[in-house]
Amino acid sequence: MEVRVRVFRFNPEIDRRPRYDVFTVEAEPMDRVLDLLEYIRGDIDGTLSFRRSCGHGICGSDAMRINGRNMLACKALVKNFETNEITVEPLLGLRVLKDLIVDMEPFFEHYRSVLPYLINDEPLPEDGRERLQSPAERERFDDTTKCILCAACTTSCPSFWADGHYVGPAAIVNAHRFIFDSRDRAAAQRLEILNQQMGVWRCRTAFNCTEACPREIKVTQAIAEVKRAIQTGRLD
């Protein structure tokens, strides 16, 4: 089948404004959008820039807007689009560095702001090995361990579009992962950070984040659970 791929192009060193280039390529229904982009870069236009790494939905490098929705190019199959025209654009709300590559630093800054690591200064267990937890305690935060930091959720969020200072869904998901971890001791600290003006209360429950997450994390639910923990002070 023949697919028309419209690709957002912008090189800030040369272009005054962005444009869309159209490439007509032969594709199989099971081809991924990433395959089409690789073909365009390899065989048609070597100047096309985009990020990719594993190509299997794990590294989170190739999140982009495809036909208006955030998704990973390596998980978007040609057959799943209703049309033979595919428009590929960079993530919204982050500065475009070149073509489909955006500056992820503000996103990672928000991620770091919620202390996304285990904090526990208590002495190690007597055997000096791991801090044990029950399967139920582990299950409590299982969903939010799946985040791959692709930024598909944060850049689909209207609150983040409106104000880049908003910490965003991905950072809250990663805070949730530790807030509800029975081994961690810094939940109160994280809840205080997220209780600030640019924390969880900027969430307007538009739900784009949950729809966009390639790992099917229940993002809005995680945010609501953090809101409730702030309100009640309970971590159940």
């Binding site: 807007r65 036909n67 208006g68 929705r69 919204l92 709300g93 689909s156 209207p158 579009w161 409106a162 104000d163 880049g164 307007r204 429950t205 538009a206 739900f207 784009n208 949950t210 729809e211 229940k218 809005t220 639910q221 945010i223 609501a224 659970e225 809101k227 409730r228 309100q231």
Partner: protein, 139 residues
């Protein structure tokens, strides 16, 4: 790109599903309610400061344009209220309801409930408008 430009581009071009549309409708209806409240506070203030102007305002409200506007205003109030209750209930009492299927369903039901509440009042308001402004139905 400025944040305002990004926001507007996202509102219009991002192909979100029910949640995205519900978010936008909530904002639009919210603006409608705020606009009404502002006008209402100003015209009621005229009663004290300038009664003649108040009567003039009432006259304007009887025009067809304002009559139709009021019908849509009632929709704004109903939708914004029902959707607000949905969000508050899920966020405060049932976070596990923020699940793709149940969320899509709850958005659709919110619209249905708002329409069911709105249609009877819209009917009566439109009827009154046609009676008083166009002399229909024996008016």
């Amino acid at each position: 790109m400025s944040e305002l430009k990004t926001t507007l581009a996202g509102y219009v071009t991002y192909r979100g599903r029910e949640g995205h549309w519900s978010f936008l409708l909530h904002r639009i209806t919210g603006l409608g309610v705020v606009l009404f409240l502002t006008i209402h506070i100003i015209d009621i203030a005229f009663v004290y400061f300038n009664p003649v102007l108040f009567m003039k305002a009432i006259e304007i409200y009887r025009s067809t344009l304002f009559g139709v506007g009021e019908i849509f205003l009632v929709f704004c109030v109903f939708y914004h209220g029902v959707n607000g209750l949905r969000i508050a209930y899920l966020d405060l009492f049932k976070p596990q309801g923020w699940h793709i299927e149940s969320q899509r369903r709850s958005v659709r039901w919110t619209l249905v409930i708002a329409l069911v509440l709105w249609l009877p009042s819209a009917f009566w308001m439109l009827r009154n408008l046609l009676i008083h402004n166009y002399g229909l139905f024996g008016g």
